[in-house]
């Protein structure tokens, strides 16, 4: 059992439990809208053109940098558009997407079976394969997996995050129950890729069947499966590390700096597919649940499938719905179901529309302080964020906030505290950007002034030097002139004398 139980966090029972979480396969969609940008970072560049025919698994957008990841076609068909489409983000900003119209055949690109046993591949080769497959953190964070593994080379412990602590989401639970063998294999690949000597698979104690399946298939004595108490935010990386190993990663540092690599169990399955089966990331398991659907279930859907078609399979009722991508605590409210599944869509919540609770004034009750898993003072952060006093908010450790939403959950005045914190963080980034830009502009302006001054001075010096040289030349010429005149006068005198002599 875990050594450390963090203070704070909330116990939220699963609001829509199911008898047995199973995965239903959703047929490939008629149209796939594939997002080219995952997390905040650059975009992958399309390497196909409109009208081109692509096969399932073919790479359609590539990247050279570390952050954006490769994108592969999730169905076979014709590229019908490469344009900006709305994405499920609170800003409502559109981002570049590639749209494929299916040809109905779902023809796969030729898969070359790996002839080398993965243990004979070097760690670099495995990371390269993961990179080419375009794998990102499947728990919802979306961090490029190859970059994370690269940073964690030489790690001593690998932690597999199978906690799935956000209530209502069950995709990881079902994944473990249906593919335990593949997951254990994927863990071994990952172990080899990062060089870890020990693996701990962390799972919440309310997922007994998943725990048993893993135990049944794990014969590697370097892999241990541990249960941790069920509490929301037990799956937050730093808190999990403290729970399992007793190490508190300092604020601002990464787990990889301390020799620990943490990966979600869905990512591990994707790694198995990529390294063992050579299949790129083109589908994922999505939970559809909520008060607005009659059959909450998990679906394995191709990336780019529209939310609406997946939600249909769960038999939504006739009420007006409020849709949310992600979990109930950390998800994003979206206005309709016209978005498509991307690599980080782990859950779609479809709830009956309810009137929003009335927001009242903060009464400083400190319920938020008692549930904050990061030991912050959400109340103080709220006051300072609201008055846009970012400096003060940073003093109260704004940057350590993991935006888990526990404070929103308990606030008796229904204040959406974590929205204020997202705002404060975005404002801080903006102020830092602006400061950098103004410093740069000021420098360039001052240099330009200096440059113009310098040019003027150089010109003046050059003119002065030229003048001096001209003056000297003129003086020299004057002398020459005089000697010339003397010669002429002398010659004329000689001529005159000769004339006189001859007369």
């Amino acid at each position: 059992m875990a050594k450390f139980i963090f203070k704070g966090g909330v116990h939220i029972p699963n609001p829509y439990p199911v008898e047995k979480p199973e995965i239903k396969q959703v047929p490939p969609p008629k149209q796939a809208v594939l997002l080219l940008q995952q997390r905040v970072g650059g975009e992958a560049k399309p390497c196909v053109e409109i009208g081109e025919h692509v096969l399932t698994g073919q790479i359609i957008a590539q990247t050279t940098g570390n952050f954006p990841t490769n994108v592969h076609a999730s169905i076979s068909g014709i590229i019908s558009a490469i344009e900006k489409r709305p994405i499920p983000h609170p800003s409502g900003i559109n981002a570049m997407c590639i749209v494929i119209d299916s040809d109905g055949k779902d023809e796969w690109v030729k898969i070359e079976k790996c002839d080398k046993e993965f243990l004979n591949c070097s760690a670099q080769e495995i990371v390269q394969k993961i990179r080419e497959a375009g794998i990102v953190g499947m728990g919802g964070a979306g961090f490029p997996t190859h970059a994370k593994i690269d940073n964690a080379q030489g790690a001593h412990t690998l932690i597999i995050n199978a906690t799935e602590c956000e209530p209502g989401i069950m995709c990881d639970d079902s994944l473990i129950q249906e593919y335990p063998r593949e997951i254990i294999r994927g863990i071994e690949v990952l172990m080899h890729a990062c060089g870890a000597k020990k693996v701990i698979v962390a799972i919440e104690d309310d997922k007994q069947e998943a725990f048993n399946s893993l135990l049944m298939y794990s014969f590697n004595d370097r892999i241990s499966v541990e249960q941790i108490p069920t509490k929301y935010t037990s799956g937050a990386e730093k808190l999990l590390i403290k729970a399992l190993l007793g190490i508190e990663i300092p604020s601002g540092a990464y787990a990889s700096d301390h020799g620990i690599l943490c990966q979600n169990v869905g990512t591990v399955k994707a790694i198995y597919d990529a390294v063992i089966d050579n299949r790129p990331l083109i589908s994922r398991v999505v939970t559809v649940t909520g008060s607005g659907v009659r059959k909450p279930r998990n679906y394995e859907a191709r990336l780019g499938t529209s939310f609406a078609s997946v939600v249909e399979c769960s038999e939504p009722n006739e009420n007006q719905h409020q849709i949310r991508m992600g979990g109930m605590m950390m998800g994003v409210d979206i206005p309709n179901a016209q978005y498509s599944i991307c690599k980080i869509t782990n859950c779609i919540f479809v709830n009956n529309e309810e009137p929003k609770p009335v927001v009242k004034e903060c009464i400083r009750c400190s319920s938020c302080v008692s549930v904050c898993p990061a030991n912050l003072l959400p109340q103080q952060l709220y006051w300072h964020a609201k008055s846009e006093n970012i400096e003060k908010a940073l003093e109260y450790n704004l940057m350590d906030c993991i935006e888990c939403g526990c404070c929103n959950y308990v606030c008796p005045s229904n204040i959406p505290l974590s929205e204020y914190f997202s705002f404060a963080k975005a404002l801080d980034r903006k102020l830092k950007r602006e400061e950098q830009k103004t410093d740069q502009s000021r420098e360039r302006f001052e240099f330009r002034e200096y440059r113009l001054e310098r040019n003027k001075k150089e010109r003046a010096e050059m003119m002065a030097a030229k003048k001096k040289a001209l003056k000297e030349k003129m003086a020299k010429d004057k002398d020459k002139d005089q000697s010339q005149k003397d010669k002429i006068a002398a010659a004329m005198a000689r001529v005159k004398k000769t004339k006189e002599d001859n007369a």
Partner: protein, 180 residues
Amino acid sequence: MMESVVIFSILTLVLGLVLGYAALRFKVKGNPLVDQIDAILPQTQCGQCNFPGCRPYAEALAKGEAQINQCPPGGQEGVDALAELLDLEVLELNAEHGETKPDHVVYVDEKLCIGCTLCIQACPVDAFVGSSKVMTTVIARECTGCDLCIPVCPVDCIYVRELKPTLGTYVPDLQGIPHG
């Protein structure tokens, strides 16, 4: 009676000396005022304030020879910040100096450029790359949006591009968050 007068006079003297000493000994070494004002100004270097750059305007403000509401790129927020720093009354942005335009950069339509270099000479932060009879272009990252280059171009090939928020630069609207 005399005693209380004497006592209070001595007390005043002593406390006055203590305060004076403390004011000297614990003096906070702050930036000179001009630097502080310059830090608030947006460094667009456009000259709309009627001064040849942000620093001359800051110097004039420090001397009290200019009003705080002459800078359109700083917007009303800039005026408010200057009012707070200089302990002056908050004024409304003076529309005579121009209006606050949304964040933008300029770009050159290279097909039309004739290489006259007038824009290069006009730019206060050297954001142009080009030379005589050679095509010119703008380094967008350095452009401050001062627009001094637009009127001098003889073929009108410089245009404005507004900077739209991206996923990385998006700031949620504070007023949009539900509040009591």
